[in-house]
């Protein structure tokens, strides 16, 4: 058992799959000799060789398109977006080509497209994005978003083994911030499509994912201490397909739900989650389904502005307190 960071756990997961399965290869900008902008693939070229760790031109559409072609032929490519913000350059490939290939043409496209997401790092509008909503609307894609080191490892391994295309979102604010003891002997695989109960409670549920899992846990601690509230926190882990059963279970248990995400509000995932609860568990609700999200603006650079726009622990505390008293 060694303490590993979120980033190291992701790295281990990639490493183990490369080691296990010769069909797996990595492609992306500066992933080889440099080891990736955040060093996720450091040491991979040395171990697996240049042929399996490909430094590409700055061509996101080509990276994803070429990954798709190789996947049709039985390879298991893992494409890195240097920052997930640049996945927009491959939007056409992902939504039109990759996502429809199985349905249209019976073609398997087992690719993983991964990259650093998220704010709280003063990255400004183009190095802080959370792109899940842009892809969530596209049938044929899967989307995972680990919040813990264990799931960073378990989900990258499961994504590589999955027979469909998976967008793997990793939060750069978590990279070196969180640590967890992971067993060396056990193979860690996190099933795609299963949420995780991050904290048990009975008074109110927070449904969340990504970095805001940690903000929600912090809020739950504070609410327990200051208000004597037992807040349940559900970490979705997989966004598409969504674990409806886990969401309804927690709603039925606490009867109140607050949805928290870092992405902007309008058209964000919280709307879809709320609709599902409304359809499947309306009778269990003792209060309105409420949302804590980023404000509907591009993410600005100045710390004062970024802090204002993004959801903070204090926001979750206030919103939960209000809902608990409803």
């Amino acid at each position: 058992m060694a303490d590993v960071t979120y980033l190291e756990a992701l790295r281990q997961g990639l490493w183990e799959e490369m080691d296990r399965d010769p069909r797996v290869f990595i492609l992306g900008e500066d992933v080889g000799a440099y080891g990736g902008a955040f060093k996720v693939t450091e040491g991979f070229t040395k171990k697996f060789g240049e042929a399996r760790v490909i430094d590409t031109p700055i061509s996101e559409a080509a990276i994803v398109g070429a990954a798709a072609g190789a996947a049709h032929m039985g390879m298991r490519p893992v494409a890195e977006m240097q920052f997930i913000d640049f996945i927009s350059c491959a939007y056409d490939m992902l939504t039109n080509y990759v996502a429809t290939a199985r349905y249209r043409a019976g073609l398997a496209t087992p690719i993983v497209v991964r990259g650093p997401c998220g704010g709280y790092v003063r990255g400004g509008p183009f190095h802080s994005q959370n792109p899940e909503a842009a892809f969530f609307h596209t049938p044929g894609l899967k989307i995972v978003y680990p919040a813990t080191a264990r799931d960073a490892k378990g989900l990258i391994k499961a994504s590589i083994r999955d027979d469909d295309p998976v967008i793997y979102l990793e939060h750069k604010w978590l990279y070196r911030r969180i640590k967890e003891a992971l067993p060396d002997e056990e193979e860690i695989l996190t099933p795609i499509g299963e949420a995780r109960l991050a904290r048990e409670g009975k008074d109110l549920s927070i449904v969340t994912y990504g970095a805001t899992v940690w903000k929600s846990l912090e809020a739950a601690d504070q609410l327990a201490k200051d208000d004597g509230l037992a807040v349940e926190v559900l970490d979705l882990r997989t966004l598409l397909p969504m674990d409806d059963a886990a969401i309804m279970r927690t709603v039925q248990k606490t009867n109140k739900v607050l949805i928290v995400h870092e992405d902007t509000r309008t058209g964000g995932l919280a709307g879809e989650i709320a609709a599902r609860i409304n359809e499947q568990a309306f009778a269990w609700l003792d209060g309105p389904i409420m949302r804590v999200t980023a404000h509907d603006v591009p993410l600005p650079y100045a710390p004062t502005l970024e802090d204002f726009v993004l959801p903070q622990t204090e926001d979750i505390v206030k919103a939960a307190r209000w809902l608990a008293a409803y």
Partner: protein, 351 residues
């Protein structure tokens, strides 16, 4: 020595049709760029510059030389700079004070803390800020140039693109669009041998970026990017051709990125002797100084006086803004749309 300065005439034999004052002005912009970047580096180390810091050390010559070929003043030509074209922005009239405020995310900065580094514009002065997505400015600048063509204005657009960014789809679409439309656009392709850690061999299979332009029917030249005057001359020719209706012109500048991709990058993938060679033998500022002195276009003490004034200017600009406040959080909500309505403030913020 004072009498000697007075004897230097204000007419040729000066190079590239430039006057002596212009030669000294070019020197001032080179020095201003380098000194300002050194100041930004110091501020970055003090965590005053909050985002990453990207240096143009060794590339100041191509930035300043190319921008200097544009028309400035009322209804200027418009260029779109990249992170390593601070010098180009300074030539177009960007003020060190505005740049310092922008890097430090100050409320009084040109984007009021919304955007970082050189991502800001002043179309009156003649520059349009980039976004991070590489290549995107090529089609946008094609559109700026298209507007000049449609309105019959004798103006030119100029867009910078890195060797790495020539691999993007937007670069190719924008270039082809501009070529077909024959818009007055000059493309400066910066072959600085690195795209983050990626060398040219892994980026493209041609030798020179100029070959890419030829595939779109665009005339292209390659020039020594660390020879300020050569860059100026070649760009000037390209700008005038574009202005006269000859369509897109492509200039490849061969230069070298002497710092890491950004300040965090230790350049472990770069050969030390290569860096040393470019620093010692091919620094654009050193080379220009040597030219100025050898041809007796200027005197050392004049250059020294410029250096001193630049330092004072940057000290004053820094002092003027270093303690300024950041923008108030709430100001993040305005300006998403043309109307006065701001984005709604979330409900729990009023609890």
């Amino acid at each position: 020595m004072a009498s000697r300065a007075a004897s230097i005439p204000q007419s040729p034999p000066f190079p590239a049709g430039l006057t002596r004052d212009q030669l000294l002005e070019i020197y001032r912009y080179l020095r201003l760029t380098r000194t300002l970047e050194e100041r930004l580096t110091a501020l970055y180390r003090q965590s005053k510059v909050i985002g990453g810091l990207f240096r143009s050390l060794g590339q100041e010559g191509e930035s300043v030389g190319s921008a200097y070929a544009l028309a400035r003043g009322p209804n200027p030509d418009i260029l779109s700079p990249l992170i390593r074209n601070l010098g180009s922005m300074l030539v177009m009239g960007a003020q060190p004070l505005a740049i310092l405020r922008q890097y430090m995310a100050k409320a009084e900065g040109p984007t009021r803390g919304r955007e970082l580094n050189v991502h800001f514009n002043d179309l009156e002065k003649g520059y349009l800020g980039q976004i991070s997505h590489l290549g995107d400015m090529v089609p946008v600048m094609a559109g700026i140039a298209l507007s000049f063509k449609l309105r019959g204005e004798p103006r030119v657009g100029l867009v910078y693109v890195g060797d790495g960014a020539t691999s993007t789809g937007t670069f190719h679409e924008g270039l082809n669009f501009a070529a077909v439309q024959r818009v007055p656009l000059v493309v400066i392709a910066e072959y600085n041998r690195w795209a983050y850690s990626t060398p040219p061999e892994k980026q493209f299979a041609v030798k020179d970026l100029a070959e890419k332009a030829k595939g779109y029917g665009i005339p292209a030249v390659t020039v020594d990017g660390n020879d300020v005057l050569a860059v100026y001359e070649v760009t000037k020719l390209a700008v005038e051709r574009a202005r006269r209706g000859h369509g897109v012109q492509f200039v490849e500048v061969k230069t070298y990125r002497r710092k890491g991709h950004a300040e965090h990058d230790d350049q472990h993938y770069v050969a030390k002797d290569e860096l040393d060679w470019w620093a010692k033998e091919n620094d654009p500022v050193d080379r220009y100084v040597k030219q100025l002195i050898q041809h007796e276009w200027a005197e050392q003490r004049e250059l020294k006086a410029i250096d001193d004034r630049v330092k004072v200017e940057i000290d004053q600009a820094t002092d003027a803004c270093i303690d300024e406040p950041l923008p108030p959080g709430e100001s993040a909500l305005g300006g998403v749309y043309a109307g006065p309505a701001a984005a709604p403030r979330h409900w729990y913020r009023s609890l």
